[in-house]
């Protein structure tokens, strides 16, 4: 696990349709210590996905710097695992081979990487799906595989881009509870992008509200763990925090 430091980050690009320069992220700074779970919320177009894509190295930034464990980000790399909203599993690989992909790229031998994959699949209660192809799984299961695939590569920072946005409400709650459980076991550094305020508070140690490409406010979430929905739904502090973040986002 490593820390993530973002200093005065900005992203300006030329919008062909608008015929003008657009600033998606401006002068954004954020410090995430190793092992922290940070949720980033904001309305559509606030720059949160652009921010994540820059941290992942998928798109270049135009100003400032991004440091992972003190080293500047130059393009995508295995030190930053990514969980996509659309899952992006490899349809031509079984669930086991999807999860073993990262270790395979690192040069880990077959027996060893399959053991790693089996261990991580067990962690997400996916052992029985190991031999199946992604298209044979439900959306919720596919996203579990997506999370586990990123984790199995033991990245320094885990980047999650609205990963639970396209599953049904019940499955989403289960996935959120599983994610906090796994996070407590493995303690990776996590950047979790979402537009769902309750989700942001439920999962994070800290919630960062984004607006128009900059940090609006950071709110510490000091709710005890393990967190489960049955408890938090009755918890006044959870309700108060959620209300506050919601107000922030709506005023943005």
């Amino acid at each position: 696990m490593k820390s993530l430091t973002i200093r005065n980050l900005s992203k300006t690009y030329f919008d062909v349709h608008a015929g003008a320069n657009v600033t998606a992220v401006r002068d954004l700074s954020l410090e995430v210590p190793a092992g922290e779970f940070v949720s980033i919320v904001g309305p559509s177009g606030c720059g949160k996905t652009t921010l994540l894509n820059m941290i992942a190295g998928f798109i270049p930034h135009t100003g400032g710097e991004i440091l992972v464990g003190g080293r500047p980000v130059k393009g995508p790399g295995p030190d930053r695992g990514v969980v996509f909203q659309s899952w992006a599993l490899f349809p031509w690989r079984t669930v086991l081979d999807n999860v073993a992909f990262g270790p395979k790229m690192r040069g880990v031998g077959r027996a060893e990487r399959e053991k790693i994959a089996h261990d991580y699949l067990a962690l997400a209660k996916l052992s029985e799906a190991a031999g199946r192809y992604p298209n044979e799984l439900s959306g919720g299961m596919q996203q579990r595989v997506g999370v586990v695939r990123a984790l199995a590569n033991e990245p320094d920072v885990l980047l999650m881009d609205e990963p639970f946005a396209s599953v049904d409400a019940q499955t989403r709650m289960t996935l959120q509870e599983e994610l906090t459980r796994i996070w407590e076991q493995k303690r990776p550094t996590v950047i979790f992008i979402t537009h769902d305020v309750a989700e942001a508070v439920f999962l994070g140690n800290r919630v960062v509200a984004l607006s128009k490409g900059r940090v609006l406010e950071e709110i510490t979430v000091d709710l005890p763990r393990p967190r489960v929905w049955d408890d938090l739904n009755k918890d006044d502090r959870f309700k108060a925090l959620t209300a506050r973040v919601l107000q922030l986002v709506r005023s943005a």
Binding site: P78, G81, A88, L89, F90, W92, F101, M105, P134, E136
Partner: protein, 269 residues
């Protein structure tokens, strides 16, 4: 009456799931019966339209004399040699054009231009350059096979979702690994479509070429039979063409598709 039909139909469905080859043969039965009736009634003179029995007899004779096995082998070898080079050149070229904007810019207009010049249109000049031999035939088949393979490979490469590339890169895949692990499997369903089209066109181009410049092969057999006025052998050649393609498709291409794109959910069954 209708329940009886329905019952027979459900029996037939069960039978064909158990023995798929029955499902292949049965649709041809009415066709052969109709053919037999028309010839038995002598609607046309036998020299114009021989019956199924005549064709079977001619098949026996040609196999016995060794002409058919030799011609068949010649045609199939030509198709294999031509297709092999068409695929070996077409897939890498398709990957290159699909992956690189620069190569795409440089080659696309050329591809479009040469694709438009049909395979047979090359024959006059090829005969002058290479004569009536294997080289001419191979060039025609390669030419026919390569374009559908290239164009479909390009399409396949370009239809891989960007997040698939991103996922692989952020899991530590190098550029070379990407080619094997993401680009090739991702493009495979389209490459298979290209192969299916390419081989189909190649097969037809081969027969046309044999008719025009051949000295052996199924196409030559048919054209030679026309010279001799032997409609039986022409019909036999046509039946062999259809049967052979059916075998290539159902024994080679379809199983590959079932094991890849269909299994992965990238192609609907």
């Amino acid at each position: 009456m209708s329940t009886l039909l329905l019952k027979t139909w459900s029996h037939y469905l069960r039978l064909t799931t158990q023995w798929p080859s029955i499902g292949t043969i049965v649709p041809f039965i009415p066709l052969i019966v109709a053919w037999w009736i028309v010839t038995a009634l002598q609607v046309f003179p036998p020299a114009f339209l021989p019956g199924p029995a005549d064709v079977v007899r001619s098949f026996g004779t040609l196999v016995y004399t060794g002409v058919l096995p030799e011609y068949l082998q010649d045609s199939v070898v030509r198709l294999i040699v031509g297709s092999f080079w068409g695929i070996m050149l077409g897939i890498p070229l398709g990957l290159l054009v699909g992956l690189s904007q620069r190569v795409h810019k440089a080659l696309w207009p050329l591809l479009m231009f040469f694709q438009a010049i049909g395979d047979i249109a090359w024959l006059p000049i090829l005969v002058i350059w290479f004569g009536y031999g294997l080289v001419t035939m191979t060039v025609v088949i390669v030419y026919t096979v390569i374009f559908p393979v290239i164009l479909n490979t390009v399409l396949g490469v370009r239809s891989i979702p960007i997040n698939m590339h991103r996922a692989a890169l952020s899991l530590g895949a190098s550029r070379t690994r990407m080619l094997w692990e993401v680009v090739l499997p991702g493009a495979l369903p389209n490459i298979m479509t290209g192969l299916r089209n390419g081989l189909g066109y190649g097969w037809r181009a081969l027969i046309a070429t044999e008719i025009i410049v051949g000295t052996s092969g199924i196409g030559f057999l048919m054209f030679d039979a026309r010279r001799a006025g032997s409609v039986v052998e022409i019909l036999l050649g046509m039946i062999i063409l259809g049967t052979l393609w059916y075998i290539v498709d159902s024994w080679i291409l379809a199983p590959i598709e079932r094991a890849t794109g269909q299994r992965w959910g990238l192609v609907t069954k």
